[in-house]
């Protein structure tokens, strides 16, 4: 049985945009691109967690661009961790706090521990450590994977989370091969949910829906044990679009059905936002080309590529055991 013998924070959901506190914990000093949604994730995540928090950040844009020596943007304690170490960073920090509080060497109080990683650091390199950490019920922590769908900081290389066909510096379209990257994006949140039955909270978020995303962070921090959030973050540089439309793209990812929004809380799956409406038949998915055509990284797509992509998304909604979460069917339902 899990023993969480140090206190959990009480973080009620913000009941509307106007109830969100004004105080910032991720402020000026960062050097991210204009329209960087991942930077917004940092800001909202810090706000949702509040000042009694420790943030660990693995290598990537949200390290390199945010913590130039002497101009850190973090008001709350922050520490770098290695590219594949978000899981271990969160675990080690939580273990240290727990040991010291339990042994009377530190004042007992709820301290939020959040480790973030990019898709390269999380879905590729750090997957084993995240997986291991999600099996440790004794420690309160949140791992947040901000997914800009590439190794962005090193100049936009494909990761296991890059969508099919995207033009990255490691998968440029050429004269003979139009599509160099033909792997399908990893289903990270679904995989972690299926693989870690004891984990009490896993969610997908999108900062175009900021209030919901912040409340997901608050729930993840107060439910107890290790938790995971996967956010999809439009990245003007890597996706090649005008920074003005970051939010719009974030919305299109959801309304085209490419990015389903859901929470899995204590073993119960809840779709939310437009995703819920799609699933309940109250909203008709927009064509994926509405989303893809706005991004330069798909500029080399021809009809058959759009069709392939659309077909995969249709399959996800029509054939998956749980659309957006569990990517297989039961033989009995054939």
């Amino acid at each position: 049985m899990a023993t969480i013998d140090y206190p959990l924070p009480k973080l009620e959901p913000f009941k509307g945009q106007k109830k969100i506190p004004l105080e910032e914990f991720f402020t000026s000093g960062h050097r991210t691109c204009q329209g960087c949604e991942s930077a917004l994730v940092m800001k909202m995540m810090a706000k949702a967690a509040g000042p009694r928090s420790i943030i660990l950040g693995s290598t990537g844009c949200m390290y390199v661009a945010n913590t130039t020596y002497y101009s850190t943007s973090w008001v709350i304690p922050w520490m770098h961790t290695q590219l594949g170490s978000s899981g271990s960073a969160a675990l080690g920090t939580a273990m240290g706090l727990k040991a010291l509080m339990r042994k009377g060497k530190m004042k007992k109080e709820p301290i939020n521990v959040i480790a973030f990683c990019g898709d390269g650091g999380g879905a590729d390199m750090g997957l084993a450590a995240i997986s291991a950490t999600l099996t440790h019920p004794d420690y309160n922590l949140l791992i947040l994977m901000y997914d800009n769908e590439s190794y962005a900081n090193t100049d936009i290389q494909l990761s296991g989370s890059t969508p099919y066909g995207a033009n990255t510096t490691f998968s440029p379209p050429g004269t003979v091969k139009r599509i160099l990257h033909h792997r399908w994006k990893k289903n990270m949140a679904g995989m972690l949910a299926a693989g870690h039955p004891e984990c009490k909270y896993i969610a997908t978020v999108d900062m175009s829906y900021g209030l919901q995303a912040m409340n997901c962070v608050r729930k993840a921090l107060s439910i107890g044990g290790p938790t995971f959030i996967h956010s999809l973050d439009p990245c003007p540089k890597g996706w090649d679009y005008d920074p003005m439309i970051s939010h719009e793209l974030g919305e299109l990812a959801v309304t085209t059905g490419v990015w389903p929004l859901y929470e899995i809380e204590n073993g119960v799956l809840k779709l939310y936002g437009k995703t819920k409406e799609i699933a309940e038949g109250r909203y008709k998915r927009l064509p994926v080309r509405d989303y893809l055509l706005r991004q330069g990284r798909f500029a080399h797509f021809i009809e058959e590529d759009f069709d392939y992509f659309q077909n995969k998304i249709d399959q996800m909604w029509q054939k998956w055991l749980i659309p957006g979460v569990i990517p297989f069917r039961r033989e009995i339902d054939q």
């Binding site: 009694r52 420790i54 920090t93 240290g96 530190m106």
Partner: protein, 408 residues
Amino acid sequence: MTPTAVAEAPKGTEKTALITGSEAIAVACKLADVDVITGYPIRPYDTVIQYIAQLISNGEMDCEYVVAEGEHSQFEIVKHASTVGARVFCGSSGVGWMYAFECLTVTPALRVPMVVMVGNRALDDPGAFGVEHNDALAVRDLGWQLVWVDNAQEALDTALIAYRVAEDRRIFLPCAISCDGAFLTHSQALVKIPAQEKVNAFLPRYDRGDLLLHPDNPITVAPQANEDWLMEIRRQTAAAMDRSMGVIREAYKDYERIIGRGYGNPFFEEYMTDDADVVLVGMGTLSTPCKVAIRKMRQEGKKVGLVRVRWFRPFAAEELAQCLSRFKAVGVIDRDFSLGSPYSSGVLATEVRAALYASAKRPPLVGFICGLGGREVLVPDVEKITGIVYDAAAGKPQPLTHWIGVRE
């Protein structure tokens, strides 16, 4: 697996137990009241975690303990636990240590005083469980304090001293205690276990001070420094390493005063060197066959001594050079290799040569590579080595490196 007390002693005094080198390190962790421990299986390091796990499940030790999913995580977990103020322990062997290499490189500049045990083991491939020193030596340039011990008592005492030195605010650098695989990790000896009260008097609580990562001290740790500041930060880490020799000396003195066991010169042990013509230099459990052979050779009238290097980082270059310049020739025995290095020597031979360079009197120095992959170094091997060193003393031209005990 709990250490068996063979002589129950009154409170405040030592107990004696028949334990292995690994068990001695486990007992030191218990005495040091370590807060966070991580394990991952690899021979021979795994033995120390087996003992620790038993201490925890028997309620004799109170810490947060996890088995990680790999050595990389093992070291990252304790690194982060240390930054919030926890005393930590972990370790590894051979390729496991190399698997954690990224984490080993970041620890010194973060000024994380983790204390770890390396159960020295040959690196794959091909597979070998036995001892070689290349694993721990791989971090020799990076800001790790590295110490080799040659018996279980020294393992226990050195582990306690290591916490005291690493966690000293003037240092805040990690420390790896090397124990030769099998020869020390798995060999039992009678070990005196100091009383808890005395250990408490010797080893103060770990205080992370202004570097504590905590909401009450909202610092940003390890920002992107680039060419603007990295060099100054490296210099600070180097300065800490330079201070380490003095702090080590202080710690050994206090250990002797409070615990009652002294080691003389902390940096190297001298055995039968007073009147020696030639000496052998080595690290770890090589000392056993060397000492036996030296006693035998002395009966035959050969004046041979041994200098066993304990602390490899910091390296007591001046002191060692002064010591070695007394002799007619020096033979350095490496249980490691440094392929393509000057004279194709081992790592220790190269370092000792460098240490001697600034010395006014430089005896001939010959390097020997032997005992790799856990191959036993036998008394005849040591005799053969000594013969070559005598030849060098007599001015006979020599290759500067010899492989001993190898099929040609």
